[in-house]
């Protein structure tokens, strides 16, 4: 009886709907793609695999070096500016990888300020000197690492803070120096957390389209685009997407296992106040230099460059077209955020009120989307919708002699649905965190004091959830604002958003002109960073109370 409640039926329906794009991709493995597939396999498939792997290796090295290094310094040592860096190191999260990529290109290419200054200083001309090429696979790895390392930083910092100082002291007392202690005790203990953070970084790396496309590197995401638009072969594009999904699946499994392990690696239940190593002399300045260098390269320089460009071009760029872009982006992001919030509330309440297996699975399936690249979702959305449109159209034509054209695909409906699939996890997580704070006994206490379920919702749940609901709205809002590949594929004809416009202008080598839109995205991206740093400072407060 409980298995057939409204809750379980709607949760299952939502899960099926949200899983549809992935199921379509998987089902397309068995659709023959003809010569195109053989052609792809013979020519470019190997490049896609090798480039994607190389990129992943590079991003792993870069983001671990930056993320673990800064996390250790900030969590365990004391040096000038530590408190500032603790939250400021999150700022690069605000910049989408494709934006940092073309900002650096503008700064470092032949006509950019750096090379121009170098030539003026030395009197060299074109071809007289060697300068590293930013538009390369190494360059792309550096760009991605610069904006993605905060995932590793966040997880590693929490892990380091969670380590009992006693274990480290034991190591010191057994004759290990600080460096040896770091590599033999602290790092292995934090490893599961670091791997969990790293898998998020790599998921974003695989999902990236803007950077690799701009740098002209062939990976799966660009390959899917090319197959879709250039070769016009849907099954082949879906099959490429399926291979990409395989990579993602490995990462998701890795992340899940690591998170479980991380729990067992927590060495103490009650933490004493952290006694940070006081760095002295040159060391403390080196620590400051490392953190400020990371921050400078990951945020200050690119954001500063964007600001300079924006100031010089604002006059011509801030026209009516820009405001229509702004309106499109804000409207789309708001609609997606509200839609995701309602769906998340429905799922979260279903699980709370009826914690039965079918609902638990439905919630889990519905929250897979965060791992799936936007390109893959877009292909998975457009194939079934296109089929549906054609079916409706042919029925209408044969029955009523009316052509309905495209009803779902190529409309905002398709785009919103893709956003929902991709970002539901974000709002679901926020809502569930909020609901956890309302213990079942609070509901029962209120009921024993003569409150009806509706009263309880009004007097307890809504006031206590308000913050989480706002967080859920805000996070999805900003994610949608930054989203590029799915928007590119699914947007209605001639419908532009900030992200699409910034990307198009950059692709046309109009870097300075694209900066207004880019800067607007970065500014919006700072909002969640503020939220995150607020919860960081709260957790720091909890670390130090109770002594």
């Amino acid at each position: 009886m409980r298995y057939l409640s409204y809750w379980s039926i709607s949760a299952t329906a939502i899960a099926l709907l949200l899983a549809a794009p992935v199921l379509v991709i998987v089902a397309n493995i068995f659709v023959p793609a003809g010569d195109v597939w053989a052609h792809l396999a013979a020519t470019v498939l190997q490049d896609y695999v090798i480039n994607s792997l190389l990129l992943m290796v590079g991003v792993t090295l870069g983001s671990c070096f930056l993320g673990v290094g800064t996390a250790w310094l900030v969590a365990m040592t004391q040096f000038p500016g530590r408190k500032l860096f603790e939250w400021a190191l999150l700022l690069p999260l605000a910049i989408p990888a494709y934006i940092i990529a073309y900002t650096y290109t503008g700064m470092l290419d032949f006509a950019g300020p750096l090379q121009t200054a170098l030539r003026e200083l030395t009197g060299w001309g074109y071809g007289d000197y060697w300068f590293p090429e930013i538009r390369s696979i190494e360059g792309a790895a550096i760009m991605l690492a610069l904006v993605l390392y905060p995932y590793v930083y966040l997880m590693a910092r929490t892990a380091f803070i969670g380590q009992s100082l006693c274990v480290l002291d034991v190591s010191r007392s057994l004759g290990n120096g600080p460096w040896r202690t770091f590599f033999t005790v602290a790092l292995p203990l934090a490893r599961p957390a670091i791997i969990a953070g790293l898998s998020l970084v790599l998921m974003e790396t695989l999902a990236d389209y803007g950077t690799v496309q701009y740098f002209g590197i062939s990976t799966f995401t660009t390959g899917i685009f090319r197959t879709w638009y250039g070769l016009d072969n849907a099954p082949a594009a879906a099959q490429l997407a399926a291979i990409l999904l395989l990579f993602v699946f490995v990462l998701v499994t890795l992340e899940r296992i690591s998170r479980q392990r991380a729990r067992y690696h927590d060495t103490s239940r009650r933490h004493q106040e952290l006694r940070r190593y006081q760095l002295r002399g040159i060391n403390k300045w080196l620590a400051s230099l490392f953190c400020s260098g990371t921050l400078l390269l990951g945020f200050l320089l690119p954001a500063g460059q964007l600001l300079i460009w924006a100031l010089t071009t604002a006059g011509e760029m801030l026209d009516t077209q820009f405001f229509s872009l702004l309106l499109h982006s804000l409207g789309l992001a708001t609609a997606a955020a509200v839609l995701a919030l309602i769906t998340a509330l429905l799922l979260a309440y279903a699980r709370r009120l009826q914690p039965i297996a079918p609902i638990r699975y439905a919630v889990r399936i519905s929250s897979m989307g965060y791992a799936i690249p936007g390109t893959v979702i877009a292909v998975g959305v457009i194939i079934p919708l296109g089929w549906l449109d054609n079916a409706i159209d042919s029925i209408m034509r044969s029955q009523f002699d009316i052509s309905t054209g495209l009803i779902f695909s190529g409309t905002l409906f398709a785009l919103l649905f893709a956003y929902l699939v991709r970002f539901l996890t974000v709002s679901l997580h926020a809502v569930e965190t909020g609901l956890e704070r309302i213990t079942p006994s609070m509901d029962e206490a209120a009921r024993s004091m003569s409150y009806t379920p509706l009263d309880i919702l009004r007097k307890i749940h809504i006031p206590m959830l308000r913050g989480s609901l706002l967080t859920a709205l805000l996070l999805v809002f900003v994610d949608v604002l930054k989203e590029l590949p799915a928007t590119l594929i699914l947007r209605p004809f001639n419908f532009n958003t900030l992200a699409v416009r910034a990307y198009e202008l950059a692709a046309d080598e109009r870097l300075a002109d694209s900066s207004t839109a880019a800067l607007a995205i970065v500014l919006a991206g700072i909002l969640p960073v503020i939220l995150l740093s607020y919860s960081l400072s709260r957790s720091r407060h909890e670390d130090t109370t109770g002594n």
């Binding site: 213990t439 609070m442 029962e444 206490a445 024993s448 004091m449 003569s450 307890i460 006031p463 206590m464």
Partner: protein, 350 residues
Amino acid sequence: MKIQLEIKHASVAYADKPVINDVSLELEAGTIGCLLGPSGCGKTSLLRAIAGFEPLSAGEIQLQGRVVSRPGNTLAPEQRKVGMVFQDFALFPHLNVGKNVAFGLKHLPAVERDARVNELLDLVNLRHLRDSHPHQLSGGQQQRIALIRAMAPRPDILLMDEPFSSLDTELREQLAREVRHLLKRDGITAILVTHDQLEAFAMADKIGVIYDGQLKQWDEGYNIYHTPSDRFVADFIGQGVMLKGEVLNSQQIKIELGIIDGTVPAGCKPGCPVEVLLRPDDVIHDDHSELQLEVRSRTFRGAEYLYTLILPSGQDILCLVQSHHSHNVGEKIGVRLEMDELAIFTKGDQ
């Protein structure tokens, strides 16, 4: 006395798995009852059934003579005038202390509500915390607020689910005394659930020992301790040993320590083998006693020593002695029996 709560042959089942099986009990108005048992015995399920959070699969529950639960018909918790104190207190974090206490008083005019909140806060001496938020309170303070919040609407019965378990031991005893005093002063009928027998003894007028979904005994603390109804209760409550004995006649039983007087259960013929429960406080230390037993081990408990003594047959018995009488392991000490009540079990008993 008036009966406030009556439970008749009540059963509770989760997905056809019974957790409470055919429980019957009565609680008089103004008395404090306690459901005592090991974890997982079903005591909390019974409490939640009284509150209306769990439906009955058989039997019925009456509050003040009104049937509130029977199979297929469960009066909603919000309609049955019960107050409930939870293990985690369940204070609302977004409301201050005053508003938490006033939460169940929405039917009162503002002035009366205010007066009632102050009255209750005075009762626990926490009026100065009226504007504080729950997270600013200590565990003991949160417990007191949770209690007066449940008392505020003057419920027909107050239900407390392990109300002291999240506090440390010392605070627990002090609060148990305080809460009993408050409930008695206002003549409130209450039931608490606990796994701690000392808490049950300190708080309750009537104790129900629950094991495996069954109410094994519903009685005063003294009787639960000295005349447990079966072996489980004897074993679960307090310490003691079972000594083999033989029925001599309807008034006497012979055990290794001598002949003891008491009422032998019906159906026990002379010569029939029985077992007698011997509590540590039934064995009195007496230097002049003829019965001298060797000390096997001893545990210091502050006010007293708990000695383990060896009988000639090799069986151990326990003996509680004031700590002024210190004897070393291996010494012999004199003891005699002083048993006012007899707890006798035949082989057929569980």
